[in-house]
């Protein structure tokens, strides 16, 4: 088995981890190489076993009922029982047009259960899986991209409207040391404030960050609570019901749910600068 360079690609192939061109080259090699085929069959077992290494988890209650009811709805939509071809356009048929193989293959397999044959049958299963996996992946991929794009587009529209208003004020809140930083954009016409935070670790459990507007000589007015993602950033929009001018923006850490008035010294402060006064 030494010196057969293709054998190096078998584990990657079985794990679906070959790069696209390497994968195509390996597949065409497989057609002519018994040694690689039997190795693929051998390691495919490991691929299956990996799934069993992962601790099972109890799925959320209600999931089973949901699946069964979707299956039932499906059934109603596609008509009669007994249909063996999926009618749902979302479903990628495994081998379009081919009927399920009859059981007549079983005695044949039993009669010829040599190691090579067993390997070949495992192999074809694996190749089918790869092909199926590829098709299913393509469809799912396309759907996920559309959903993402739609979501992004909607979000972008509303952000654009917020940023491009006529009566917009901005503030940058920072510590003297520099980080973390928060940038605020307050659109008075839309009564919304955009909060963009950087390098701000998520609040501890049971705590939240709260944004305040402080009118000159007045008491702080809550502009809402927010938290950051694990990477220390957030881009959030909060409704803000304030008419009068605000001199300062400030952020404190508060118990979850926020507080009517700050319970601690703000750790980020900055002046509002903008159009209308």
């Amino acid at each position: 088995m030494s010196g057969h360079r293709w054998l190096d690609d078998v584990p990657g192939y079985v794990l679906g981890a070959l790069d696209a061109d390497a994968s195509a080259a390996f597949e065409s090699h497989l057609e002519t190489c018994d040694e690689c085929r039997s190795k693929v069959a051998e390691l495919a077992l490991v691929g299956d076993a990996l799934a069993t290494a992962i601790p099972p988890r109890t799925p959320p209650s209600g999931l089973k009922a949901r699946i069964l009811s979707e299956a039932r709805a499906d059934e109603r939509a596609t008509g009669d029982a007994g249909a063996t071809e999926p009618d749902d356009p979302d479903v990628v048929p495994i081998r379009p047009g081919e009927r399920p193989r009859s059981l007549s293959i079983l005695p044949w397999l039993a009669a010829a259960a040599g190691a090579v044959l067993a390997a070949a049958s495992l192999l074809s299963t694996w190749q089918e899986r790869q092909e199926r996996e590829r098709l299913v992946a393509e469809v799912a991929d396309a759907r996920a991209r559309i959903a993402t794009l739609e979501q992004d587009l909607g979000r972008r529209d509303s952000l654009l409207a917020l940023l491009s208003g006529a009566r917009v004020e901005t503030a940058t809140l920072a510590r003297t040391s520099g980080e973390p930083r928060i940038r605020l954009v307050w659109n008075r016409d839309r009564a919304s404030v955009l909060i963009a935070a950087f390098d701000l670790p998520p609040a501890p459990a049971g705590r939240t960050y709260q944004l305040w507007g402080i009118p000159d000589g007045g008491r702080p007015i809550s502009l809402g609570t927010f938290d950051t993602d694990a990477d220390g950033t957030v881009l959030a929009v909060r409704a803000i019901d304030v008419e009068g001018p605000l001199g300062l923006g400030a952020v404190t850490e508060e118990p979850a749910g926020g507080s009517p008035q700050p319970t601690s010294q703000p750790f980020l402060v900055g002046p509002w600068s903008g159009a209308s006064q």
């Binding site: 070959l18 077992l45 299956d48 699946i67 039932r72 249909a83 999926p86 059981l103 991929d141 694990a230």
Partner: protein, 191 residues
């Protein structure tokens, strides 16, 4: 007719009780896999639903003589979960976040509680878990990045900042160790 083949035939006939049986048998494993890949309960739930419904819809064209129903369902779930993972990576291009996530992967995690441990009593699980634990970290890591992270060998090499050849060697050695542990026949070991 094998148990698998008969379950398949019932699925193809649109027998809901077959779907229910399949769910009872495999939902825990499928959900565990999806959670391991996605680290997000909500997304994992969607993956489980998608995978079972796809099997329900496609059962008519599944050929039980050519592979097990379990392996098919798990393959679908893994592929769906990896799709979502990639879509999410595109959405939020936060490299450090992804890295932290990858670093937290582990195939040999002990099960979260004893009740759940009881679900996985297959021979395979009993053999593959200790074998994974015994693998050198470097070998286990490349297998996990491929299996749970959906990365190609080149992507793994870039992420770990090692040559592609090193990734291939680690993957090959690790997979071979696992195979030997599964079949109990070490190759060229002598003994």
């Amino acid at each position: 007719m094998t148990a698998d083949a008969s379950l398949c035939a019932r699925l193809a006939r649109r027998d809901e009780s077959a779907l229910s049986e399949l769910y009872d048998r495999l939902a825990g494993r499928v959900y565990g896999l999806a959670v391991s890949i996605l680290r997000d309960a909500g997304e994992a739930e969607e993956v489980v639903a998608d995978a079972f419904l796809q099997v329900w819809r496609g059962a008519g064209s599944f050929d039980p003589a050519r592979g097990s129903l379990d392996a098919w369902l798990i393959m679908i779930a893994r592929s769906r979960a990896l799709d979502r993972r990639r879509a999410r990576a595109r959405r939020r291009d936060i490299r450090e976040g992804a890295e932290r996530e990858i670093a937290s992967f582990t195939l040999s995690d002990p099960p979260p509680d004893p009740e759940e441990r009881a679900i996985s009593t297959t021979d395979m699980a009993r053999r593959v878990r200790p074998a994974l634990r015994d693998l050198p970290d470097a070998q286990r890591q490349v297998i996990e990045l491929a299996y749970l992270g959906g990365l190609t060998q080149s992507e793994i090499a870039a992420r770990l900042e090692v040559p592609l050849g090193t990734v291939k060697t680690r993957m090959r050695t690790g997979m071979q160790e696992l195979r030997d542990a599964l079949t109990g026949t070490p190759e060229g070991g002598g003994a």
